[in-house]
Symmetry: C2
Subunit: 657 residues, 2 copies
């Protein structure tokens, strides 16, 4: 009857919405009931308690499982009204669990495999925080429910292998082994021996009846004692007790009134829709209070650590950057404007990190097997490993997608600020997790080097041309493409002070001259775009550029000015932040009238936004960039052959004048 | 010494380019030598022979392995000059193997895991073609070399599981088990027991010394006899014989002259750079001719099948559509203009396929576990399975990425035209393979349903807002967003007659009215955009829309015309094809002067290209669409709440006038 409360709430909510997924919550209700009642460390009245266990519903379509649990155990925001408004406008009970809608939703899930891969980051963050602050302050588990879909998605392999390699023993995954997918039986498309697959990557595996409370309880208890991550394969019946049980029809919305009634009768459920008998609700509310004393004990222990450590702990959870961040960035900027080195921005990024990481102990770096290329590892980080949980650098392996999801998990867990690197073109591999970072409003930092045809000989498979457009088209994503070390340092400062927006740093492989030669305390990149070089004489042209093409634009300006054509150069390291400026500023930077030519070693998509005048004031405009995929040759040759040169920019301006 | 030819050519080419990856070809040279010398069925003088075995270098960074083999065995285009120009502008010897650069390069590789996943499609296509045309015409193997990186990428799991489930016994994968990645030892990031993992998905696994020719030969012979796909784990030494052997340094470019000399000495190699001793070259050229007699025998057998079947076989390989395709599409269009049903375009797509599939036996459909939602399975296809290799519908499982790559493999293999479905938002999961389809110029068809907030209750994780921009930003990709059944049928006709461009069909979940009410034989979608409804009276506004928003634009036109504002509606089902029209046509469709307002239930990125006047003729412009992520609620509510309505469009026009 206790688990039946989940099943009936699910049936009722899905029926009211006339959409949703009934079968999964009905199948996994027993597992969830035992987990919440006997194991999950949580206090419904304090859902943000830092040392709570995390519960992640990777099979996010079964969102009513989570919403039911939150309602039943008495999370304050999860009212019955919200349950009744499942999947309706303004409700916190979205079709799939949305992070930020309500406490108790630890991460957004729905795109399959993401929750499982994100959970690896939660478990890593817990290890790091525990090593740093001690078991008295940090000591909790991460529990996951994953379905067949999660395990079929490729990202699951990256997650499983990474967790196994790192022996994340506090990660416990329940596999909802119900043999059913949308198209039919799992056997239609898969014959994988999942337990064997998990074992192959170093996991402990148990196989149980997912409807046997004692077996569930015992399996969880055993899983806690292993020195490895644990997978508990739970043989379940999808849509248990319903006419659609064990069928693919049971996966979706079960709204037939008669069949619902029959299912409820089978559970012995006699109350009306959305009505949970008092004794059942009371029992669940006691479950919600079960962790209160443990929470109190934790508070007492937390109060005993030094104030400095308490402040440090809280500062990182609150995403407050340390004061030294700004001063270190300013110092680097000053030094660079004086020395004016020619350096690749991936190297600039390393220079910034070398100064930042020592004063920002919450950063956790990493790379998907391109450490030396991404320049993501600084001297002080140490390597995160089984015997060094204080290590702040993670070798993610060749797993861009798993890395991105794990970083999201770390950011969601709190206390750490993850950044990780790969080649910019492999944004493609990491996309689903990068999108979730944007949607969840978490400040994950993606360090994407080798950002254009500047990659050179590796050729078109490794040369992004559409990826700036992809990142810029994604809502709530800061796409930084800094033009030199000064802008790179500024971008890092913004990325590491962001609270609600993930950042992509698109960095060059090839060396770039320093173009910010005058030191300014102010972070100009924060404005998104700014006047880097003013026209001499009458302003007849404005050149817009980002990253490696800013120096191309400056050289084009020299050519044009030599012919008496007054030319302004605008550096645009972050379109999104420029959009955020008031219109007056935007018009000051991009006044109507002069010819505009943008230059970027990428496709044109999106540039017309800046080439066409604001508010209908018109100007002639052109673009110098890529018109298709790249090619394999030395970078300098490619810039020549594809016509991304100062001469080409100057010619374009003159043709338009 | 025979394998040493590969190793020395690799060293010399990488040294000449001063970039590239030496270690992998040096490590796998023995495996490749045995494969080409004793097993691979090929005729270097006829590299396009349809029944050749396919060799796929999934570890594409080791491209010099492939180029060396093609040069040594005498493929006509792979001259020594090309080897000398490795990674240089205009050479066919790109940094990573590029499909289309030279015969013998079966697919583009480099992004890790892609070759392995693509190979599954090759093997599927072989099964289908063999079932259809018989062993006399189709009977060949697909061989793959995959590295640790390929196996760490998540897509590998999707590929392995799909191949295992389908018992693709003619797929043989060599794992270059060298324990090294770029960042160091594999153990830094992985502890997976790869043989156990493959076995868990039903593969046969052998483990051998990858430098022992007899063991390699025996393993390949054994692998051919299994009833399952085979993985041969080859223990190898990366950069064998070089000072950097067995180190991560050995992975990259080994250009030190002294060390190169020492390595060559260790091989007993005494000739100069790029010089292969005559007897070695002759031996390899004999290898290249080994398959000639078998090729001749095949030609004889092929000549014996009926002319009708020969023509049919060749037609599909040549990507010539059957004549009935056009007539069937026209018939559907005529019927629809008469009946004017209200129907979701995903259903329109099914209606088109129901007519097309019976007359186009080369189509192979499928879905990543969303068959009933994507409407991709038609009545006549049958299910591809172990006991029904003639089945033309594939249950790919929850594997969008693996599906996309497998479809690429089928398209590359030839003889079949693959299309497959998932939700449009999961373009994210399939992106790396979709990009490769565009780069390789192959006509894979991606059926992407549920293409906007019209998804409704499933919420923002399932609602694409940036994905149209993503597809449109990708070079050589036709992004179709048809507005009704007529345009959907036209899009299918274009997708299935394409020879060099992949297609994305972005289709609605929700019903749409038929707006093409006048039958035209001509395929208007082929023009990319066209005038759907002309202004009555003086033309003061042009509304631009795609897909589900075309009917919104038509309703807005009604509102505006009622107020005497002459309004044209332009349907834009495919920007790329509109770009391909001559300027005169584009200006006829979008003349300068009138206010332009675009409406699309997606982000604005890219629209400014069409909102700003061509050639500097100016007009006021606006956009009605999405400004961020979606939300969970019924679709109609979302359109209202996000302000994507006829009223909002009309208001925007009036505000601009």
């Amino acid at each position: 009857m206790r688990a039946a409360a989940i099943r009936t709430l699910t049936l009722d909510a899905v029926a009211a919405a006339n959409s949703g997924h009934s079968g999964m919550p009905m199948g996994m209700a027993d597992v969830a009931t035992v987990l919440y009642a006997k194991h999950l460390k949580f206090d419904a009245s304090a859902p943000d308690w830092a040392d709570r266990d995390r519960f992640i519903l990777s099979a996010g379509h079964g969102s009513m499982l989570l919403y039911s649990l939150l309602y039943l155990t008495g999370y304050p925001e999860m009212t019955l009204e919200q349950i009744r408004n499942f999947r309706q406008w303004g409700a916190i009970t979205a079709g799939h669990p949305e992070y930020g809608h309500a406490p108790g939703i630890e991460t957004t899930t729905g795109p399959l495999g993401q929750g499982l891969a994100t959970s690896v980051g939660f478990a890593i963050a817990e290890e790091i925080q525990r090593a740093r602050f001690g078991r008295d302050v940090v000591d909790h588990y991460t529990y996951v429910i994953a379905g067949d879909g999660c395990l079929m998605e490729g990202i699951s392999q990256e997650a499983i292998a990474l967790a196994g390699r790192q022996k994340l023993s506090k990660l416990i995954v329940f596999w909802d082994n119900n043999d059913i997918t949308i198209d039919g039986k799992v056997s239609l498309s898969d014959c994988t021996d999942q337990p064997a697959r998990f074992r192959a990557s170093g996991w402990d595996v148990q196989e149980i009846d997912g409807h046997d409370p004692k077996a569930i309880d015992a399996a969880i208890a055993a899983a806690k004692k292993t020195g490895t991550p644990s997978m508990i394969a739970c043989k379940t019946h999808i849509a248990l007790g319903h006419a659609a049980q064990d069928t693919s029809k049971g996966h979706g919305a079960l709204t037939d009134a008669g069949q619902m009634q029959d299912a409820k009768a089978a559970y012995g459920w006699t109350t009306g829709p959305f009505e949970v008998p008092d004794e059942i609700k009371s029992w669940w509310e006691e479950v919600g209070k079960r962790g209160a004393s443990e929470h109190k004990a934790w508070q007492d222990r937390f109060a005993k650590i030094s104030e400095r450590r308490r402040t440090e702990f809280t500062r990182a959870y609150d995403l407050e950057a340390p004061k030294q961040l700004a001063s270190r960035v300013r110092a680097l900027k000053k030094q660079i404007t004086e020395e004016a080195p020619k350096v690749a921005t991936r190297k600039s990024s390393e220079m910034a990190l070398e100064l930042i990481n020592p004063v920002m102990p919450e950063t956790v770096g990493g790379s998907a097997d391109l450490t030396g290329s991404n320049n993501t590892k600084t001297g002080d980080l140490g390597t995160f490993d089984v015997d060094n949980r204080k290590g702040r650098y993670i070798y993610y392996g060749i797993r861009e997608h798993g890395m991105a999801a794990a970083m999201n998990g770390m950011a969601l867990h709190g206390g750490v600020r993850p950044y990780g690197g790969t080649f910019f073109v492999f944004t493609d591999y990491a996309r689903p997790a990068m999108r979730l970072a944007a949607l969840m409003k978490i400040p994950t930092v993606f360090v994407m080097t080798h950002d254009s045809i500047g990659v050179g000989e590796d050729g078109p498979t490794h040369q992004p041309v559409e990826h700036l457009a992809i990142c810029r088209a994604t809502p709530n994503t800061w796409t930084f493409r800094p033009c030199d070390t000064v802008e790179t340092a500024e971008a890092w400062e913004l990325a590491l002070t962001s609270k609600e927006t993930p950042s992509v740093l698109a960095l060059t492989r090839q060396g770039l001259p320093t173009v910010r030669l005058e030191h300014k305390q102010k972070n100009l990149t924060a404005q998104g775009a700014y006047v880097l070089a003013e026209a001499t004489g009458k302003r007849r042209a404005i050149l817009l550029a980002s990253g490696s093409e800013v120096s191309v634009a400056l050289a084009a300006r020299d050519l044009l000015q030599a012919e008496g054509i007054g030319t302004r150069v605008v550096s645009m390291p972050c379109w999104e932040l420029f959009e955020d400026q008031d219109e007056a500023y935007r018009r000051r930077v991009l006044p109507a009238g002069p010819v505009r030519v943008a230059v970027e070693a990428a496709g044109r998509t999106g540039w017309d936004r800046w080439l066409s005048g604001e508010r209908g004031k018109w100007n002639k405009a052109g673009f110098v960039g890529m018109d298709g995929f790249g090619a394999s040759a030395p970078a300098g040759t490619l810039y020549e052959k594809f016509g991304i040169t100062a001469e080409a920019v100057a010619e374009k301006v003159k043709a338009l004048l």
